[in-house]
Symmetry: C2
Subunit: 177 residues, 2 copies
């Protein structure tokens, strides 16, 4: 339900139609969520069916009427409940990028090393993109901060992984001690 929570939280601040909402998410939260435009439309209909948002038709000129969504009272209650519930919960994430690590041993160490260096370069690039971002002040601050924190840790981890591949003996194996 986290995506629903996000939509509720945004609509709570200001009423919007689907396109604006999706645009807002893409521009402000693009680095923190994978919610796509078509998913947003889908979820808006679901929220409307649940009575958590309502909409009015906004007929401007001859173009197809836009649905302008706003939070209902039931929606506000749901938002409050979901916010608390999900703030207290911890869900371990799954890293799809980790799957190839399970088969690294099938490659010549030198090749694996080269590929991991590519990966680390991509991660480093991504991190500097994030750091360079317009530093827009807003509710996404903590989300971005966490993402940065995560990436910094990833870079360290990838470096250690590479060091292990270079000289397995002098560097600790994963779960060792």
């Amino acid at each position: 339900m986290e995506k629903e929570l996000l939509l509720l939280g945004i609509l709570r601040r200001q009423e919007l139609h689907g396109y604006r909402l999706a645009e807002f998410i893409e521009h402000n939260l693009g680095s923190c969520t994978d919610l796509k435009k078509s998913t947003a439309y889908y979820l808006l209909e679901k929220l409307a069916a649940a009575g958590w948002v309502a909409f009015t038709q906004d007929q401007a000129g001859k173009r197809p009427a836009r649905r302008v969504y706003r939070l209902t009272e039931a929606g506000e209650a749901a938002f409050q409940r979901l916010l608390r519930q999900h703030l207290a919960a911890f869900t371990p994430p799954y890293f799809t990028d980790d799957i190839p690590l399970a088969f690294m041993d099938l490659l010549p160490p030198a090749e694996a090393l080269g590929l991991l260096e590519e990966r680390r370069a991509a991660a480093a690039e991504h991190l500097s993109q994030l750091r360079a971002a317009p530093a827009h002040p807003g509710p996404a601050q903590w989300m971005v901060a966490h993402q940065i924190r995560f990436l910094e840790n990833e870079l360290l981890w990838l470096q250690e992984l590479e060091e292990h591949l270079q000289s397995p003996s002098t560097h600790p194996t994963p779960l060792s001690e």
Copy 2:
């Protein structure tokens, strides 16, 4: 395609029928992937349609015939290609748990703090579960190691977040400097 890569990599080592495959994943990789049994069946059919795996009917007694899947040559080629491609790539993960952070400021700081403490306790619990796991040696070593590394960083980050909530002035705000 990472999930497909995982299935290919497992079938490459040994031919299996759907149930064994799903069981293997659940037991050995449960903490690292969210691949479910029914998804495995779905993907197996997809892989078969693509010609990357083939199956033989294994009729034992009166029970419905089991499909025993094995890697084809095309599957081996695909595996080699996908392994290199995904080992070199970096895909930023999205943390659904971060979404509520965007709305933390709507709660009284004391309440937010309490909820975050719950979250950190859950994360710590999860970490010790992982650490206590049977330390099965296998190809999943690096995946588990990464997960542990990630969780350690998460705990530190949550602690800092809590400290900031307790005394915003003396602890740095997210993107500050």
